[in-house]
């Protein structure tokens, strides 16, 4: 790479401009034009063939098909969807399903991974060995195989709907998934959400005030318990003020399936458990290396300053460990999101699965693949931007 900058002092040939390839600038420009030219030529060749093939098969290009009626059903959806709706809406259902499994998966995998990572460093021999056994087994088996296993576990080992297991009253477990009762619709839930929003705003201001007060007077404020109290207390007051409704929407067997309550489908269960179990093994390693990266002297110094072990962890060890943890953790989050596309193999209607159905029905292969890729690129970019922002926030501030 540095050779291009060599010999820049060589006088150019008499008579002005020289086009010799031994001139580094000329050479650089020449090579770049050459490479760009080859790439453009190959690209043109492919596009030309594609257009040619498309016109021969009389497939219309463009995204007009998104307006057409999808006419296929989707097993689970966060928004209202009917086969009469358009392909565009079906795709939106897929995107939301992908986001749902990714977000829940990221949260659960972080919790499980952190627990296992800490457990691997435990002074308890049994716990440490179990945790490292978990990591070594799970990491070295393809995620798709694990998904198939979880899916088969639910769909083949669970009893049929009519003999559903009923471990707790109202909860039913069968081949169709886990049915759980939920509180019936009531205006009080909205009011509780409103109360929670107010609590969050109050907490933000309270934290700011507590920080300035401590900086000014040195008086600490019990911000932890105050936060907890506000976040739980305000919604609780709203709940009691709203008459404390206790009515439950209990699933009931009607015909061939349960009606009412909330269902965790076998597909969702399999993809979620599979992703969480697999990614947690990697997150455990990330957390472990992050904790090991903080010098033991830091803990000793903090204790010597009189901080108790909770504050040592919170104020000294964790901030330093997080700096090491966050970048690799980001790539694990990205991996989990991308691996959620494996849902296709077990029939969870994620965006890849719905795009696949769409492109099979319409023949719009290029648009379908482009939509999958585009959506994932946007999601990946979003996670990267958020984690980079977080990383910058926790990065070491140097003078």
């Amino acid at each position: 790479m540095a050779s291009e900058t060599r010999d820049t002092a060589r006088p150019s040939a008499p008579g002005g401009v020289s086009f010799s390839l031994s001139d580094p600038t000329v050479r650089a420009v020449f090579y770049q034009i050459l490479v760009v030219g080859i790439v453009v030529a190959v690209g043109w060749f492919l596009i030309h063939n594609t257009l040619d093939n498309l016109s021969k098969r009389s497939i219309a290009t463009g995204f007009g098909f998104l307006e057409r009626e999808a006419s296929f059903g989707i097993g689970e959806s966060l928004i209202d969807y009917h086969p009469r709706d358009s392909y565009g809406r079906a795709f939106l259902v897929g995107v939301l399903n992908t986001l749902k499994v990714s977000i829940i998966g990221v949260v659960l995998a972080t919790v499980l991974g952190t627990l296992i990572g800490v457990a691997r460093l435990s002074s308890n021999w049994l716990i440490a060995k179990l945790a490292s056994g978990y990591v070594e087994i799970v990491r070295n088996i393809p995620p798709l195989l694990q998904l198939f296993f979880w899916y088969a576990l639910v769909s083949e080992s669970m009893p049929p709907v009519r003999q559903a297991l009923n471990p707790i009253p109202g909860v039913f477990l069968s081949q169709r998934g886990l049915f759980v009762p939920v509180p019936s619709a009531d205006p009080v839930w909205g009011q509780m959400g409103f109360a929670l929003a107010i609590a969050v705003i109050v907490v933000i201001f309270l934290r700011r005030w507590a920080k300035t007060r401590q900086e000014r007077t040195g008086q600490p404020f019990p911000i932890g318990s105050a936060t907890l109290g506000l976040l739980i207390g305000l919604p609780l007051i709203a709940y009691i003020a709203g008459g404390a409704p206790t009515a439950l929407d209990v699933p009931k067997l009607q015909g061939f399936n349960f009606v009412g309550g909330v269902v965790v489908t076998p597909e969702f269960f399999a993809i979620l458990v599979g992703l969480v179990v697999y990614t947690a093994a990697f997150i455990a390693e990330v957390v472990r290396s992050g904790i090991l990266a903080v010098n033991w002297g830091q803990t000793e110094a903090s204790r010597a300053l009189g901080l108790d072990s909770g504050r040592t962890l919170r104020l000294v060890v964790l901030p330093q460990a997080l700096r090491v943890i966050v970048p690799p953790l980001t790539s694990q989050y990205l991996n989990l999101t991308k691996n959620s596309s494996l849902a296709l193999a077990i029939g969870y209607p994620d965006l890849v699965s719905i795009a696949n159905t769409t492109l099979n029905q319409t023949g719009q292969a290029i648009e379908g693949v482009a939509m999958i890729m585009g959506t994932y690129l946007v999601i990946s970019l979003g996670i990267s931007i958020f984690m980079n922002w977080y990383n910058k926030r926790i990065a070491l501030v140097e003078r």
Partner: protein, 367 residues
């Protein structure tokens, strides 16, 4: 002054607690604090609850080879007949039954090549020739059509040889491409850098499935009418594209670790760009990148299982197909455990090897 002097006799201190022997080990590693003791007891109780039924299923009440599936279903324990009955299908797919020694030899050749490449004593130029020879032999064995071997279409390939071939051929083709991409990303020529970065980030930003889709539904559109690749080759191309981007990032890490003085020294010797890279920079950068590269290999090996989605029968695909046989439905535990162990052995030995290599290389740097 005498006030400071202790005159009475000091009581004997208790002898130090045992630091060796099983009792001391238990106390230090399992019962060192009250919560650890509690956790130990809790986990031991869980293990006592969980392990006997598991062993019972695996071994004690497992049905021996040859038990018909109907009997297995009634008995409850693991049905290893499934594995013995379906072994050749799971391992070799639909390859003609009488010719299945050919994929078996293929497996042996590939594993032998990989094992040889793991030993640093064999890191010589002739190793490349061995690979070329070995892969040619693999091609001859699998396709046949020469040397008196009957021709076997590659749509009949399946099982472990397919998994191994997809990984090994994919990695060996992607490797040179990834070096070029990594060099391109570090290049001072803006056009080349931008193109390399775009390619790498584009591929790394999308899931492998979307690339496989592209390979299965878009590649046929890309080619002139009349020219067509078969499905296996298209999947292989998608894997190569995928692996090249990830390996390029591993190699870039190695390139960035090379101090600037090395580049300047190469310049001072009058080497041109390619000479400097080949003789000075890449040998050092690649040595540093080997551990992350092996990690890429591991995830790539696991990812080959995704070909099932576009309808190829690799090891996971054949196991799933074996399960769809009506006579053998429901023995998914046995099937997935069996191929899970195969995948695990490959991946675990690669990761152990990578750790060993990392230790060896670090030793080299310390000296």
């Amino acid at each position: 002054m005498t006030d400071n002097v202790h005159t009475g006799s000091i009581p004997d201190e208790r002898p130090p607690a045992n630091t060796v022997g099983p009792v001391a080990w238990l106390r230090n590693n399992l019962f060192n604090t009250w919560y650890n003791a509690l956790l130990t007891i809790l986990i031991a109780w869980l293990l006592v609850k969980a392990i006997p039924p598991l062993l019972d299923w695996l071994i004690f009440s497992a049905n021996s080879f040859g038990t018909p599936p109907q009997v297995c279903r009634q008995q409850g324990g693991a049905c290893w007949t499934f594995v013995s009955e379906k072994l050749r299908f799971v391992m070799f797919g639909t390859f003609p039954y009488d010719e299945q020694w050919r994929p078996l030899v293929t497996i042996v050749i590939i594993i032998a090549l990989v094992l040889m490449s793991c030993d640093r004593r064999f890191w010589k130029p002739w190793l490349g020739l061995m690979w070329v020879g070995g892969l040619t032999a693999v091609g001859v064995l699998m396709w046949g059509g020469v040397l008196g071997l009957t021709y076997v279409e590659n749509t009949l390939w399946g099982g472990l040889p397919l998994t191994l071939m997809l990984s090994v051929i994919g990695l060996s083709v992607a490797f040179p491409a990834s070096i070029l991409l990594a060099l391109g990303r570090r290049s001072q020529l803006p056009a080349i850098r931008v193109m390399s970065v775009t390619y790498i980030e584009l591929i790394r930003g999308v899931p492998l499935i979307s690339l496989l889709f592209m390979a299965s539904v878009m590649f046929p559109l890309f080619l002139p009418t009349g020219v067509n690749f078969d499905k296996l080759l298209r999947a292989q191309i998608a894997f190569i594209m995928f692996a090249a981007a990830y390996m390029a990032e591993a190699i870039r890490g190695g390139l960035q670790a090379i101090p600037k003085g090395q580049y300047e020294a190469a310049d001072a010797l009058g080497l041109n760009y390619w000479q400097a890279m080949r003789k000075i920079i890449l040998p050092q950068a690649l040595a540093i990148s080997i551990p992350p590269l092996v990690n890429t290999f591991i995830s790539f090996f696991k990812d080959t299982s995704l070909v099932i989605i576009i309808g190829l029968y690799d090891l996971l695909g054949t196991a799933k197909a074996a399960l769809s046989d009506p006579a053998w439905r429901g023995f998914y535990r046995e099937a997935y455990l069996f191929i899970g162990v195969i995948y695990w052995v490959f991946c675990y030995s690669m990761s152990k090897y990578s750790q060993k290599l990392e230790r060896d290389l670090r030793r080299g740097h310390r000296r």
